[in-house]
Symmetry: C2
C-alpha cells in the first residue's frame, strides 16, 4: 500500500533493537483517515474469503480491527490479555510473548464469540516473529472456526514470522513489508 510506505518513510523512526516507531499514526496517536483506507485495502484483499468475524488483540490491534470490521460489516472480537471479573465462564486461551513489553501473557477470548461456522480474519498492527498471530490462530482453531486469513499493517519481513505462516498455508497479507532497517542512517527498505 503506497500511502502506508510513504507514511512510514516520512513519519516513522528507526531505533536500535529493530524498533520501528510509528506511534504518531498507528499505535498511540492513530490517523483514522489513513486507517479507514487501510480497512478498505484489507477488504479488497480478503473479500472473497467468506469472512464473518474479525479477531484482533488488545490494545493496538483494536483500531485497525474496527476499521476492517466496518468494511466487512461484521463483528470485531478482541482477545484480552488478562482475566477480568467481567468475563464469566469459559474462554479459549493461548500464551503470547510480547516483543514490545518483554513479557508473556495468556490471551483469552470468550467461547461465546467464536465457534464452528465462523470464518475469521485475524488482524493486527505489527507482524514480527508472529507471536500474536500464532496465539490468535490457536484460539480460532480451538474454537472450531476457520482462519480465513491474517492481515497486518506493517510486517518486519526480516523476522520471518509472516513467511513461516505462509509456508504453513495461511493467507497472510501485510500492507507494507520491511526487508531491512538501519538505525544508524534511518534507512528503511521495503520488500517488493
Amino acid at each position: 500500500m503506497e500511502l502506508l510506505k510513504q507514511k512510514i518513510l516520512t513519519e516513522g523512526e528507526v531505533f536500535e533493537g529493530n524498533i520501528l516507531k510509528v506511534d504518531c499514526f498507528l499505535n498511540h496517536q492513530i490517523d483514522c483517515v489513513f486507517l479507514r483506507e487501510a480497512g478498505k485495502e484489507f477488504y479488497r484483499l480478503f473479500k472473497d474469503e467468506g469472512v464473518n468475524k474479525v479477531l484482533t488483540i488488545e490494545a493496538s490491534g483494536i483500531a485497525i480491527g474496527a476499521f476492517v470490521a466496518q468494511e466487512f460489516e461484521c463483528p470485531l472480537v478482541f482477545a484480552k490479555k488478562s482475566k477480568t471479573k467481567n468475563i464469566k465462564g469459559d474462554v479459549y486461551s493461548a500464551p503470547v510473548d510480547s516483543f514490545t513489553h518483554g513479557t508473556t501473557s495468556d490471551v483469552i477470548v470468550s467461547k461465546r464469540f467464536l465457534g464452528k461456522g465462523d470464518r475469521v480474519l485475524i488482524v493486527d498492527d505489527f507482524l514480527a516473529v508472529g507471536n500474536a498471530l500464532n496465539g490468535l490462530i490457536s484460539i480460532v482453531e480451538q474454537s472450531g472456526a476457520v482462519v480465513a486469513g491474517c492481515g497486518t499493517v506493517i510486517e518486519k519481513g526480516y523476522q520471518h514470522g509472516g513467511d513461516k505462516l505462509r509456508e504453513k498455508g495461511y493467507k497472510v497479507e501485510s500492507l507494507a513489508i520491511i526487508e531491512k532497517m538501519n538505525d544508524k542512517t534511518g534507512e528503511i527498505i521495503f520488500r517488493d
Copy 2:
C-alpha cells in the same frame, strides 16, 4: 440514543455488584455497525465544539474512539496503562483506578500528541464514578489543551461520576444513562 437502549435491553445482562455486561457488542465483541452510528451521534453532539483531537484510554475505549475520530476526521490518541519501551521521552500521566479490574494504573500520553491549541473530545465506553474521565481530563489540562467535552457510550447515572463533571462545567454526553439496575430481575431503567 434509542438504538443503544434497545441493544442494552435485549443484549445486556445485569450481574451482582452493579455490573452491566455488554461484552457482546461493546467491549469484547464489538458491533462495528452500531459503533459507527454511535460515532455519528457523538459528532452530532459535539460538532460545534471545535474538536481537533479525540482522546480515549486503552483498551475498550479504542473502538468507540476510532469511530468518533473517523467522523471528525481527526487523530485519535489513546492513553496507555503501562510504560513500554516504544514510548520515548516525556509523557503526561495520571493515576486511574479501574472499577473492572480493581487496580490502579498510571495512564500516560506522550507529550508529542497533546498540547496548547488542541481542543480535545474525551471518549470512553463506560462512565461510572468517573475515574477514567478524571484521569484523561487531568492529562489534557496538564498539556495546556482544552477539554472540548466528554462522551461516553453508557453512563451509570446512579454512580454520579457524570453529574459531578457536569457540575464542574464540563460538557458530558452519554448515549444512554442508566438510573437503576436490578440484578435479581434483570430490570434496567434509563434516565429520561
